[in-house]
């Protein structure tokens, strides 16, 4: 292929402007021993962050001039901790010379706003518990019917008949007479509670601890608005 042929080829590249979100490692001291130790700590906390992550090394805020900065060693420390340096940012002549020798790009200092990165520790990143809306029932729950609120609260805005059964992994609220069975926290949630406007239940249970009508009838809250919660291994019923 001769020169003319090559010249006639369609363009094989384009230059494009872009604003990449980049991480900046801003050094405030030339003390590389301290940096190595502190980086090791960070990597332990959040290993997922330090995986060949491209960074800009900002040296322009490094006011410590007591000893010269060993750029080559700095780059090595960064690489060993999973940080891949794309460029340095500095206008100190010594840094520029060192960068040139190491064949690393230099960008000038800028006044652009930068905010500290919060690197979430890996071990302690439980997913934020998302809200599961309560199951709301507006019609009477009749004998023979069973209603289960999976992973949520159950709210019944009508009467619950004898022979009906309410089940919830969360709390149970009954805005009407509760004459059937109500089992809250059936997944073992001991914090679950049962609220009702008129206690006439055949059975109340929280996280497997229960009371049957025979016991409930003797409770002062029988027939009244009440709340039931679990105290140690005992259901505790109180008037509202």
């Amino acid at each position: 292929m001769n020169q003319a042929d090559l010249l006639e080829k369609a363009p094989v590249f384009q230059l494009k402007g872009s604003m990449l979100a980049l991480t900046i490692l801003e050094l405030s001291s030339n003390d590389l021993d301290a940096l190595a130790i502190q980086l090791t700590e960070k990597v332990e906390q959040a290993p997922q962050f330090f995986q060949n992550t491209p960074i800009i090394l900002a040296l322009d805020k490094c006011t410590d001039d007591t000893k010269p900065l060993d750029l080559e060693r700095l780059l090595t420390i960064c690489r060993e901790h999973g940080l891949s340096t794309m460029a340095i940012r500095s206008d100190r002549p010594a840094d520029l010379t060192a960068a040139k020798a190491l064949n690393i790009a230099v960008i000038p200092p800028s006044d652009a706003r930068e905010r500290p990165l919060a690197i979430a520790p890996a071990a302690e990143t439980p997913a934020e518990p998302s809200l599961i809306p309560a199951r709301v029932i507006t019609h009477p729950v009749r004998s023979g019917q069973q209603i289960y609120a999976k992973n949520s609260d159950l709210i019944v805005m009508a009467a619950v008949s004898a022979g009906a059964e309410l089940l919830a992994d969360g709390n149970i609220h009954v805005y009407g007479p509760l004459r059937g069975r109500a089992l809250a926290g059936i997944n073992g949630n001991r914090e679950a509670r049962i609220f009702c406007q008129q206690l006439g239940a055949e059975l109340l249970s929280i996280a497997g601890q229960y009371k049957v009508a025979e016991d409930l009838r003797r409770d002062p809250a029988w027939g009244k608005a009440s709340q039931t919660c679990l105290n140690e291994e005992q259901l505790e019923i109180s008037e509202l």
């Binding site: 009477p140 009749r142 004998s143 023979g144």
Partner: protein
């Protein structure tokens, strides 16, 4: 617009057939073209209470099986215009009814009649389900005792979950409560639940309270729906219930203990 109305209860022997006959007759008396369908296959007695048992040739099952046409099987009431009966089979068992068969016949009836009254068998099994499946409205018949009320509650639950309307997510079956065999004396003695008790437990609208009455037995022995006995308390109470079903506001009667008449006071012992 026709209306399919089921008379149901869960518990047996509470007065469904008596009620179906009375309400159906009452609607026809008020000029509405009405048919009463006996769903109690194997235990038919609607025809007895309506006094047409000797005129039954074909029944519901015959029509479903294509052994007779609907018009051959419909029995016209001798006393009242606009009133027809479709009898149940005495010789078949409950399995003779199928959902497809029932749906076809009831839909056909709904084209001809303003009111299709379905007299349900007892229980909550197949027969009762078929009777209520297509209903637009339900009369839940209850006696003032705990077990009957519990069964009615159960039935109301099934109406709101197992009816065609519920399955299709349409407007729910409208529910009416009919309390029958009510005896104010026994309520006063604490032997029976009161109207208020029953209303509170079931929390639906009360369409009628029918007193315990000798007139019912007399009427059924004569094959005359008790609503035609206009002198009787039960007949009048059913008549009020029909008016309420048609949207009239009528006060409830026969809820209080009757004052004893002179002769009763003389011979009835002291109260």
């Amino acid at each position: 617009m026709s209306k399919i109305l089921v008379v149901t209860s869960g518990k047996g022997g509470v007065g469904k057939t008596t009620t179906s006959a009375a309400i159906g007759t009452g609607l026809a008396l008020r000029g509405h073209r009405t048919v009463i369908v006996d769903f109690d296959v194997g235990l038919r007695n609607l025809d007895l209470i309506m006094g047409c048992e000797r005129r039954v040739v074909y029944d519901f099952v015959n029509v479903i099986n294509g052994e007779a046409t609907l018009n051959q099987a419909l029995i016209k009431d001798k006393r009242i215009e606009n009133l027809y009966i479709l009898a149940a089979s005495q010789t078949r068992d409950k399995d003779a009814l199928t959902l497809e068969g029932v749906e076809k016949i009831i839909t056909e009836l709904a084209e001809q009649f303003e009111y299709v009254i379905c007299d349900s068998p007892a229980g909550i099994e197949k027969g009762a389900h078929l009777a209520m499946y297509l209903a637009d409205a339900a009369i839940v018949v209850t006696n003032p005792e705990v077990s009957s009320v519990r069964d009615s509650d159960r039935m109301l639950g099934l109406l709101s979950s197992k009816s065609k309307r519920a399955e299709e997510g349409r407007e729910p079956v409208s529910e009416h409560l009919l309390l029958t065999r009510y005896s104010p004396e026994r309520v006063a003695r604490g032997e029976m639940l009161s109207v208020e008790d029953v209303e509170e437990i079931l929390s639906i609208e009360m369409i009628g309270v029918i007193p315990e009455s000798q007139a019912v037995l007399k009427a059924s022995n004569q094959g005359v729906p008790v609503i035609l006995d206009e002198e009787s308390d039960a007949g009048q109470a059913y008549s009020d219930a029909v008016d309420r079903l048609l949207g009239k506001e009528v006060p409830h009667r026969f809820l209080e203990v009757q004052k004893k008449g002179f002769l009763q006071r003389m011979f009835g012992g002291k109260e």
